[in-house]
Symmetry: C2
Subunit: 202 residues, 2 copies
């Protein structure tokens, strides 16, 4: 089937959201941990993690000012610190539950059943037993004028990971740890390896 731009615009709202979100393909499921200015913990699932650069190590997140994780955005702007946590695929129901619109001041850690842990050098909470725990420092908020979304850019400050997952070449074998990946708004997956390839030459 061929779908034109004006047909997408005329789709029923929920159908369109599901169609366009799933059209964007597979992505990493990330639980973003923050602390509010009042010191309350917050946790929200994102599927918009972007690699911006390796030297320095910079990652981005897309946030809509009116979206569910708006507490996350405010907390990052207030405290300049946040954490990125990847969990095992068997945690998918708990991870999804962090997307519910809880009132401000209610911690998604408690409601979804995750335990916050704190590591030195970072005030924001991490997810206990996460496969990957990354401490981030907020760097810059880049507006995307087209639709009012914001690219939150930050630098990697600290990484906690099982050493057995890191190969001799620096590659982190997340698939071996059955890390949770997401597709669309509500579908969850694990990865099954096909292969690794050498640097491509003409």
């Amino acid at each position: 089937m061929i779908v034109q731009k004006d047909e997408i615009e005329q789709f029923e709202k929920h159908y369109r959201t599901a169609f366009v979100n799933s059209l964007a393909g597979f992505r990493q499921a990330v639980l973003v941990g923050t602390l509010s200015a009042e010191g309350k913990t917050n946790l929200a699932i994102f599927n918009s993690l972007i690699h911006l650069g390796a030297n320095p190590a910079l990652f981005g997140l897309i946030s809509r000012p009116d979206s569910v994780p708006r507490d996350t955005l405010q907390n990052i702007l207030d405290t300049k610190e946040y954490t990125l946590n990847y969990v095992r695929a068997d945690q998918f129901e708990k991870a999804h539950q962090t997307s519910a619109r809880y009132e401000k001041g209610i911690s998604e850690f408690e409601k979804a059943g995750f335990t916050p842990v704190f590591l030195s050098n970072c005030h924001a909470p991490f997810v206990k037993n996460a496969i990957v725990k990354i401490a981030m420092k907020f760097e810059q908020s880049i507006p995307i004028p087209l639709n009012g979304t914001i690219l939150i850019s930050g630098s990697v400050q600290q990484v906690e990971i099982d050493a057995s997952l890191v190969g001799p070449d620096g590659y982190i074998a997340l698939s071996e740890a059955e890390v949770l990946i997401s597709h669309g708004l509500d579908a969850y997956f694990v990865s099954k390896p096909i292969g690794r390839l050498p640097y491509a030459k003409p």
Copy 2:
């Protein structure tokens, strides 16, 4: 293991690139098709596709001015049109080969073994037999001053996909078509479903 920011900065260059890229997790493997101002076809694999919004449907790509797919960036800026193509996992070797640094004017379609096809309303080439073919219109180039990368934003103009993959709620079951996903610089995967969940409520 815990790795600090200054340790990452002191990693050997290739080790650091592999470490930070794979740290960013799983993402969609996308073949970006373009036409040069001289009319030559170009194809390059990207792993930085971002969903920016569903209404209008806007997607982003991260490009480094000095990276391999720089011909892609130039072609998009010159012609304002490009295509996004998702292929089956069994095409991973050909998909990876498009990342080789071919000289300008040499088509990665031919060298990697993909067949270009053209659809009405779009001058940029698509990948024949791709599971998903998206015609994009360039909208805006957003500089990321932190490290000189660019967020290429574009609007979805047309989507070609097998109708059997689109569910009654608009969700596109890419996993059923064994779509290729990527991790890090050189690792390829397919997805294995865990489950879909209803809209999360407090």
